[in-house]
């Protein structure tokens, strides 16, 4: 479903991502881990089209998307969330998801409200609110919600665009234990029951080992190792990188 081939990203002299490849199969849940500054978000930005790679290529569903801008990749079925929550704070949860659904339904030039079009988008928004468990808070402004609910809203927005590949950048960042538990359960449901293909960046190892089918470890821009959670847990290289990073 997603083939990243030897991508490199340079910012001036800094090589943020150095010759990294990754192959994600349909239905897989892939976790990307690595110490701070390892290049995980940069890697995501290239996959989702925030900027093109300096070298290498990205193939999504058999189509080379290396040079496509972000919005066209969304059209092809990529949805993403951000490390720092990116939402529409002064709109309600429902409006956040509705706008996402309307855009995905190709209504950005629809300048008068229409019943049929509105129903289509409303139904998607309602379905996704139910899926992520925010129906009870539909009419609340996202800006007044707890951090965990804001992050969940952001996932809901991505889902409202009916993606086939979901890219989540540290979905549990800044969350307490209870919130982390809930969002982990949500991602697990999205993966197991709703059959989304998911790539997620995550720092919390409990979450990673609980969810992932495969793990990619980045360190200082390079691919350190790739494997199943078991293989990763046993790897000395990973332990060294993390201990090195922490110390």
């Amino acid at each position: 479903m997603l083939e990243v081939r030897n991508v490199t990203k340079r910012f001036g002299n800094l090589v943020a991502v150095n010759d990294v490849s990754m192959s994600v199969k349909p239905g897989e849940l892939r976790a990307i881990i690595g110490p701070n500054g390892a290049g995980k978000t940069t890697f995501f930005n290239m996959i989702s089209g925030y900027f093109p790679p300096t070298k290498g290529s990205i193939v999504f569903d058999g189509k080379d998307v290396t040079q496509l801008p972000a919005h066209q990749r969304v059209g092809l079925g990529m949805g993403r969330t951000f490390q720092i929550t990116e939402i529409f704070p002064e709109l309600t949860v429902r409006e956040n998801l509705l706008t996402a659904a309307e855009v995905a339904a190709g209504q950005t030039l629809q300048m008068v409200p229409s019943r049929a079009a509105a129903k289509l988008a409303n139904d998607v928004a309602a379905e996704m609110m139910a899926l992520v468990g925010l129906t009870a808070k539909a009419e609340r402004l996202v800006g007044e919600l707890a951090h965990g609910d804001q992050r969940t809203t952001e996932i809901g927005m991505a889902l409202a665009q009916l993606p086939r590949l979901l890219l989540l950048d540290e979905p549990t960042a800044g969350m307490g234990d209870q919130e982390t538990y809930e969002i982990t359960a949500l991602i697990r449901r999205l993966h197991r029951e709703s059959k989304y293909t998911i790539v997620l960046i995550e720092h919390d190892m409990r979450v990673v080992f609980h969810l992932a089918d495969h793990i990619t470890v980045l360190d200082q821009g390079k691919l350190l190792i790739e494997g199943t959670p078991k293989e990763i847990a046993a790897s000395e290289a990973v332990q060294a990188a993390y201990l090195g990073g922490a110390g």
Partner: protein, 330 residues
């Protein structure tokens, strides 16, 4: 901290104390009855006409300012082009009010559409600066091209013509109530269109851009194109208001193009509440009334309006209408 306070205020505003239809009935009743109650307060019908004209201009600007989050300090250009377009048409081309309105609206709207193409990639202050600069261009053109536009003295020698509907004729050449209702009808149509626009999926994308441009981009909203359309549409509405201004006064002057007027439009939006649909109309009402009362007492009326503006911004940061609803909640 402060964002929490803002969010609480918005949350309150979004749950209005009175249902929307009540607001609508009150607004339209007040507008329809204006020729009857305004004189009782010492006003006159032409003043109500000015409120409609500036209200429409400000509401048009607010599509861009309040609903897209993009600041233009040059909307007087499109207002003025509308006014001159209508005036010049009446004076040199045809004696037809509808054609004059059409010509003025197209002139201002298309100028905005083309100019918008050049500046949609600019943001914030740079965008605002470009809009001012472009606006002043037209001001100097109208100011210097004496023979054609009447220069500093303004464009005179035209007047609104009766409008024929087959066998019927609507004679609006007298000021009075009939002309006010003509203005109100145009205003009603325009504002209804604006209302539909902000509730449409297109309108939702504008709101999304205002709230978070980066997120909007990653939802696949073509941000530049939407801002351009918002700018363009907003210019058309403001230009339409400009044509009505020329009809109202039977006169178009370079000051209708001047950046200070652009500033007043922004003041009207901010004072009335730019996150609300009707806020700019309220702002225009306050502005026009103040201008009328105070300018009869002192030439320095703008410093009074300025002071009141500062007070409003200090005490009701979300504008007068924003306040009304905030109170309703607590």
């Amino acid at each position: 901290m402060s964002t929490d306070v803002t969010i609480a205020a918005v949350a309150a505003a979004r749950r209005p104390a009175v249902p929307r239809w009540v607001t609508l009935v009150v607004i339209w009743a007040l507008l329809i009855a204006a020729p009857y109650w305004l004189p009782l307060l010492g006003g006159y019908t032409a003043l109500a006409g000015r409120v409609l004209v500036f209200g429409l201009a400000a509401m048009g600007l607010n599509l861009l300012l309040g609903f897209t989050g993009v600041l233009s300090f040059g909307h007087a250009a499109y207002f003025g082009l509308g006014a001159y377009g209508a005036g010049l048409t009446l004076r040199y081309l045809v004696h037809s009010t509808p054609l004059a309105m059409l010509a003025g609206t197209l002139l201002g709207g298309l100028a905005g559409t083309l100019f918008g193409l050049l500046i949609v990639r600019r943001r914030g202050v740079y965008f605002a600066m470009c809009t001012i600069a472009f606006g002043q261009l037209w001001y100097y053109l109208a100011y210097s091209w004496n023979d054609f536009t009447g220069g500093f003295d303004g464009l005179r020698d035209f007047h609104r013509e009766p409008i024929g509907f087959g066998p019927l004729t609507l004679d609006i050449s007298e000021g009075g109530t009939r002309f006010y209702f003509f203005l109100l009808a145009i205003f009603a149509v325009a504002v209804t269109l604006l209302g539909l626009l902000v509730r449409s999926p297109f309108g939702h994308t504008l709101r999304a851009i205002r709230e978070n441009e980066r997120r909007a981009r990653f939802l696949a909203i073509p941000v530049e194109r939407q801002i351009w359309l918002s700018f363009s549409i907003s210019c058309f509405f403001t230009a339409l208001a400009g044509t009505l201004y020329a009809l109202l006064n039977n006169f178009a002057d370079p000051l209708a193009l001047h950046y200070s007027l652009s500033g007043y439009f922004v003041v009207m939006c901010v004072m009335g509440g730019m996150r609300t649909f009707w806020g700019p109309l309220l702002g225009a009402t306050v502005f026009v009334m103040l201008q009328d009362y105070i300018s009869s007492m002192t030439v320095n009326w703008m410093s009074f309006v300025g002071t009141i503006f500062v007070l409003v911004v200090l005490f009701f940061p979300r504008g007068l209408l924003g306040l009304r609803r905030q109170r309703g909640e607590t």
